[in-house]
């Protein structure tokens, strides 16, 4: 078992697609939202829309951490990178996200700032050990998938007694975003029939974390893996739930995800982080209790405390339809800026900045009507 090829089997995919075709009720449309950008990317990368019956309408959700980070936070990261003695480290796709005035961390680097792309936050701790005279700031972003690694890195830095390692914390919480997506409307979630729940996030927080949202808004949620067969099976499970009017949290990704998630990872997160009162999400607005900050006990590692940053406004392009796209209320291609003024090379809105954003995925993989298969 290699855990990859098996979940990309073409014959099984056709069987599942046929089963979905048989399961859908005539005349009914199933509007299913994949919350996570990784799923959006996978759906397009494997060409799944072409396999699904017309009755299945996939909506793309806000679960792309790069996309929902407000411009102001990017500006602050660029400001941090410009401070004397600072090395600003981050994961790859954060580096080319434009802040105000279209400036990116890559441009700051070209202008002389020391900006480094890392695969692991652990490398930033190692860098801090090697270069005690420099201030190493890690631009930490992501949902619960990347948060435990940040917690561990801070604990390691504490153990090593490092005084030159800092975290610029932008970690976000999935269930809070899901709740806000549905709550922020007079008719909660009327445009969504069910959800495909995140894969990696759920390995950490478990299926139990979604029970409240499923129950409150009466929406079925199926946690799914990132491979094409995972997605097709999850869609079938959602269709069956909707046909029998159920709204349970089900777990398609049971080879990895447990009901209570990864307790050890949760403990580390709880030890290091506390809830922010609120956080301004790009495209979704300010959501209460939806993001994490370092606990006061770890204040010495908190870049926001150590390097006071000016509050900045996040100005968005007035024509940008990202708020509606992120909620699944508008097709990316229906935005007036899509592929005209807003492209991956020159992204104006949140959903175009990362490869996992809904607009970027549609742009890269399907921006024209595609022919029938060979």
């Amino acid at each position: 078992m290699k855990y990859i090829e098996e979940f990309r089997d073409a014959a099984l995919a056709r069987t599942l697609a046929q089963a979905i075709g048989q399961a859908v009720e005539p005349g009914r449309t199933y509007r299913l939202m994949e919350f996570c950008g990784g799923h959006t990317h996978a759906i397009y990368r494997y060409g799944l829309p072409g396999l699904l019956p017309k009755a299945i309408k996939m909506l793309h959700g806000p679960g792309c951490p790069v996309c929902v980070l407000p411009i102001a936070r990017v500006d602050q990261a660029i400001e941090l990178a410009g401070r004397p003695g600072v090395i600003l480290c981050s994961y790859g796709d954060m580096l080319r996200v434009p802040g105000s005035d279209r400036r990116t961390l890559l441009q700051a680097k070209a202008e002389g700032a020391d900006v480094r792309m890392l695969y692991s936050i652990d490398d930033a701790v190692t860098l801090a050990r090697q270069l005690p005279q420099r201030a190493i700031i890690f631009f930490a972003i992501g949902f619960e998938t990347t948060t435990p690694a940040t917690a561990l890195a801070i604990l390691r830095a504490q153990k090593l007694g490092l005084s030159n390692f800092f975290v610029f914390c932008n970690h976000l919480l999935t269930p809070a975003a899901l709740d806000a997506l549905l709550a922020d409307s007079p008719n909660p979630g009327s445009w969504i029939d069910g959800f495909i729940g995140p894969a990696h996030v759920s390995t950490v927080i478990g299926t139990a974390a979604y029970q409240q949202v499923a129950r409150r808004y009466r929406k079925p949620i199926v946690i799914a893996g990132f491979e094409p067969l995972d997605l097709l099976q999850a869609i079938l499970m959602l269709v069956r739930q909707l046909n029998s009017q159920r709204c349970a949290v089900e777990n398609q990704y049971h080879r990895v995800v447990r009901p209570n998630g990864n307790r050890l990872a949760q403990d580390y997160m709880a030890q290091v982080f506390c809830l922010r009162a609120s956080f301004a999400w790009r495209g979704l607005g300010t959501i209460a209790a939806s993001a994490l900050a370092l606990r006061p006990a770890f204040a010495s590692f908190d870049a926001e405390r150590h390097f006071p940053l000016a509050e900045r406004p996040s100005r968005e392009h007035p024509g940008c339809a990202c708020p509606a796209v992120l909620r699944g209320q508008l097709d990316p291609a229906a935005c007036q800026l899509f592929a005209v003024a807003c492209t991956p090379a020159n992204p104006l809105g949140a959903c175009m900045v990362s490869a996992e954003g809904a607009c970027a995925a549609v742009y890269a993989y399907g921006r024209q009507p595609l022919r029938e298969a060979l």
Binding site: I4, R8, A10, A13, R14, G38, H41, Y44, R45, Y46, G47, L48, P49, G50, L51, P65, V66, Y91, G92, D93, M94, L95, R96, M117, L118, Y119, S120, D123, I141, G142, F143, T145, T146, H200, P228, P344, A345, S354, A355, E356, Y363, A364, Y365, G366, R367, Q368, L370, R371, A373, L374
Partner: protein
């Protein structure tokens, strides 16, 4: 080629600015390192230029700067890459390379033994390809003003009569052939960067393709165009041809070979093999009627054993490349946007 000897004891172990100063130290470096390694009659004349007669055929000329980091990687180094890359640019015109020229920019402080290794590797690559390095230049810049060694190679070649390859000649109905697996060079380079902390059995595919090309154009002179999918990978090279020819393409994902270790590395790092560099692969487009013959010819050559037919040229005024996925769906295969950066989750 004579095996290049270590520079005599007593010489500095590192390159110094004086090596680029044009005086005795420069002359000694050129004599003892470059001429000794690249040895040939034209170089031995020690003129500032090489003189030769040219065939009365169409000539092609190209130049390519090489700045790879790290300098040494599994399956090659900047030296062999600088020879292969430029020979391949000549070969993609269906031409036979005749002569190479090389220009080194050396950073003050690089180890002489590293330079020696690179030069020896270039000499081996040039000898194996049967294309001599007939003229060259060396400059040394202050520490910090370059990254170890930069190598620019230029070449000229001659095109056989009746061969006319150009990326604006693809026509709807043509077949698209690919000479082997994709992404090997890109992953080999990534694995050699110590910051990643992963090891991979994958070696760069860096190789000179002109002999493969010679057999191909001899067998099928009507090949429309060839391109080596280097930076930007297969996806970008296909898009370039579509743009230049004003056509579309439909590519069959299952026909595009990717080594399991390359696939695994890409899964792990969040990269797409369609956008990773190759240094020893080519795309060939030919009329459908000749595709079988061309494919057989490619497979008969050591550098084309893994060749396959990966798709067809289509009519598409928007000049887009579409990919039929292994699952049977269809999606776009877009240009590379910026550098391929790994995704977060």
């Amino acid at each position: 080629m004579k095996t290049s000897q270590p520079v005599a004891a007593g010489h500095p172990e590192r390159i110094e600015l004086v090596h680029g100063g044009g005086g005795r130290a420069s002359a000694q470096l050129i004599e003892r390192m470059f001429i000794r390694a690249f040895d040939n009659p034209m170089l031995q004349q020690k003129n500032d230029q090489a003189r030769f007669d040219v065939p009365t055929r169409r000539l092609v000329m190209t130049t390519d700067a090489h700045v790879v980091s790290p300098l040494f990687f599994p399956g090659g180094d900047i030296g062999s890459l600088a020879v292969h890359g430029t020979l391949n640019d000549i070969a993609m015109a269906g031409a036979e390379p005749l002569y190479l020229a090389v220009s080194f920019i050396l950073e003050e402080g690089i180890l002489l033994r590293d330079l020696q290794r690179i030069v020896a590797s270039m000499a081996r690559a040039s000898e194996a390809a049967g294309v001599p390095i007939v003229t060259g230049d060396t400059k040394v810049v202050e520490r910090g003003k370059a990254d170890g060694v930069f190598i620019t190679t230029s070449a000229i070649g001659s095109v056989p009569n009746g061969v006319d390859l150009s990326a604006d000649r693809a026509q709807p109905g043509d077949q698209i052939l690919l000479s082997g697996t994709i992404g090997d060079h890109g992953v080999a380079i990534l694995s050699a960067r110590d910051s990643l902390g992963f090891t991979s059995p994958i070696r760069s595919d860096s190789a000179a393709l002109h002999d493969l090309v010679k057999q191909m154009v001899r067998q099928v002179p009507t090949i429309r165009c060839m391109r080596d999918p280097t930076r930007g990978g297969l996806a970008t090279a296909l898009n370039e041809i579509c743009q230049q020819s004003g056509v579309g393409m439909l590519i069959d994902e299952q026909a595009v070979a990717i080594a399991p270790a390359v696939q695994s590395a890409c899964e792990l790092l969040g990269l797409d093999p369609y956008y990773l560099a190759n240094e020893g692969k080519l795309i060939a487009i030919c009329p459908a009627a000749q595709a079988d013959r061309l494919l057989a010819q490619m497979r008969a050559h050591p550098l084309g054993q893994g060749a396959s037919r990966i798709g067809v040229v289509t009519t598409d005024p928007q000049a887009m490349v579409e990919l039929q996925t292994a699952l049977g769906g269809i999606r776009l295969l877009d240009w590379l946007n910026g550098d391929p950066l790994p995704r977060i989750c």
